[in-house]
């Protein structure tokens, strides 16, 4: 009797009681869930880690092609063969970028956080300078990656893997940002011509799949331009991605603009500020602050959607993965490649979604 009383006072016991075994049905569900988790995680851990090959196979030989993979030597006995990722790691991260020039890509990867941190954290010291750097970053990055003026030129056809994915994602977002502000303001404009143009643009882009825009940019852009001007494939994709992202971002910003009380604009105007002054100093700073979470959500969407460029023949992360799978020396190692790429995308997208949740929480406490 006394022992059972002391038992119920244990907080772990009462937590389990409330959250796992509150009723008969819940108890059964808990036991089934534990079984399910055990089965899935033991299979997955065995496949990815305990029974997997990394550099050497189970005989201790170095894996140089698929015939050395343990699972191909003893079918059904071993797990993943990660050697394909290790051997092709350079391709996954840099594409076909020359090995001796890879430091330039590394430098850009290293500078990237500094370019983004100013946008993401508004209580950062010296934030102004970080923002200046953000605007300079696309030019610095492009110079470093493409070359010229002392650096060897590396054409965009040699870019690939994570480099292309990040390039399209980050540049697309940075270029779309000013465009989307103009579109969002234009959609709320009192001038019917501007309003109509913005509405048609936004609704058209949002109504068609990204892949048709990529096709259009790929096939039709050369038709629209004079003969001398031939933007390369990556730039064409970038145009499509930027236009696509700007329409979605504009809608996110419009939501923020709508949430600003009318009194703010009226107060600004009664102080004698012009439309542009009041928009720039009063309306936009407030509207952008509340629309950052939905903007980040569109950025997550865009980052995932950059994988579509493989359909128009660019080698992004997924494109490089498909090429790796198609290689005869490494054929039939689909799962390893796809799981690895999923993990990379997951880390980026999950990180961004956590950040957006953090912002939402912060905004809630700010307003209360």
């Amino acid at each position: 009797m006394s022992s059972s009383i002391s038992f119920t006072h244990n907080k772990y016991y009462s937590w389990c009681r409330n959250n796992l075994f509150s009723s008969w049905i819940n108890g059964i569900i808990t036991i089934l869930s534990i079984y399910f988790i055990y089965e899935v995680s033991s299979f997955f851990l065995n496949w990815t880690i305990f029974e997997a090959d990394f550099v050497n196979n189970f005989r201790g030989e170095k894996i140089t092609d698929r015939t050395f993979c343990s699972k191909n030597i003893e079918p059904g006995q071993h797990g993943a063969c990660w050697a394909i990722i290790i051997v092709r790691f350079h391709q996954f991260i840099y594409g076909f970028y020359p090995v001796e020039e890879a430091w330039r890509v590394n430098l850009v990867y290293g500078l990237l956080p500094f370019a983004l941190v100013g946008i993401f954290f508004d209580n950062l010291p010296f934030r102004k300078y970080f923002l200046y750097f953000t605007f300079l970053f696309p030019f610095i990055g492009y110079f470093l990656l493409y070359g010229g003026a002392g650096l060897d030129v590396v054409g965009t056809s040699k870019w690939g893997g994570l480099l292309v994915t990040l390039f399209l994602g980050v540049t697309g977002i940075l270029l779309a940002f000013p465009l989307s502000i103009i579109l969002a303001l234009g959609r709320r404009s009192k001038m019917p011509v501007i309003k109509t143009i913005c509405i048609i643009f936004i609704e058209f882009i949002r109504g068609v799949p990204l892949i048709t825009l990529l096709f259009t940019a790929n096939v039709m852009l050369p038709l629209f331009l004079p003969e001398g001007v031939r933007p390369d494939n990556l730039l064409r994709a970038l145009v499509a991605v930027t236009l696509f992202q700007s329409a979605y971002m504009a809608e996110a910003i419009r939501g923020g603009l709508q949430a600003i009380p009318k009194g703010q604009l009226e107060a600004a105007q009664s102080l004698g500020l012009t439309y542009w002054q009041s928009t720039r100093k009063i309306i936009l700073p407030q509207a952008l602050k509340i629309s950052i979470p939905p903007i980040v959500n569109t950025c997550i969407g865009l980052f995932k959607d950059t994988s579509l460029v493989l359909i128009i023949g660019l080698f992004d992360l997924l494109g490089v993965g498909r090429a790796a799978v198609a290689d005869i020396d490494w054929a039939k190692l689909h799962y390893e490649v796809y799981v690895f790429i999923s993990l990379v995308f997951f880390i980026f997208c999950f990180g961004m979604s956590r950040y957006s949740l953090y912002l939402e929480k912060k905004l809630k406490t700010d307003n209360s």
Binding site: M191, P209, S307, C349
Partner: protein, 389 residues
Amino acid sequence: MSNSFLRKLIFDEKIRSLVVQTLIIGIFALIIYLITQQTAYNLEKRGIGTGFGFLNMSAGYDISIRLIPYTSESTHFRAYLVGLINTLMISICGCFLATILGFLVGIIRLSSNWLFRNIAYVYVEFTRNVPVLLQIILYYTILLYLPKIKQALVLFDTFYITNRGIYSPSPIFKDGFSIVAWSFVIAIIFTIFLKKYFKKKQEQTGKQYPIFYVNSALIIFTPIIFYYIMDMPLDFDHPILKGFNFKGGMVVRPEFMGMLLGLSIYTAAFISETVRSGIMAVSKGQREASQALGLKNNLVLRLIVIPQALRVIIPPLTSQYLNLTKNSSLGIAIGYADLVHGFGGISLNQTGKAIEIMSMVMITYLTISLTISLFMNIYNKAVQFKGNA
């Protein structure tokens, strides 16, 4: 004189906006003029004509997944129709499956069982943070590793699961089956009137009628009775292994299954989040009040919580349906013959009519998007608060 005009231009808002708008129209007209000129020049130089005459020409390629008759001699317009039907088919099936899965996961996410709801949470986070294209390719790859036709997995002696698709018996409708089908339709219409009648009675007398059981029995048993009256007018054509392939029956291709799995598993993760937030938006007081009135748990859910949650759920659900429809264009990556793959891909490469074909494809997608929005808006209006305008 000119000074006052300039003054007006700068300080009179009406005139200023008029000038700005005229300028913008002018710039747009100029850009469009330049582009059309350049395009016409480029097209002429490459020897590509314009116009939609190519739609009547023979397409010359085959499409394996089709619901209407199509051969390689059929026209490009026929190819367009086949692609359109395939796009619609995958979108409708995908939306249906994603909704069911999404509601299920959304409700599990609200379970009081910590482990159970966190399994759903892990599913949601893992599927929505990985590109849908990657998921489609992954599921398609898994389907291609199913056993070969010779070693097909057999389910209940009727379904054959292979890496070339899932083979199942196809129905053969004999004379009189249309009567069974019509009896089914009439039973459904009848139940709608019956439901209205019972409701009216309940409002008048306060007595409750077993609407649900009566109606389900009507819908289920009417066709069955007619089926036996008409002397069982339904036969099945079973797939039989002949040589290297199955003859007869129906087949669901792995391309279709891969698309269906990819699209619905991905979209279901998003739908489950909207369902969860919709149910959480119904205030706790509503639930407690209805329990205080003595309603049972399932009635609380059916009569109080779900109708109110739907008002919150439907607008984001609409945008998920739109996303799924647009994502169905990714079929090109695994060879599912949708609008973009067949007409927008192969026809475009053969004829070179990029402008005509891409604008047709885009306008089709716009029409589908607008139609979905329209119907969901009508439905949304129907479930919103009445008299709240």
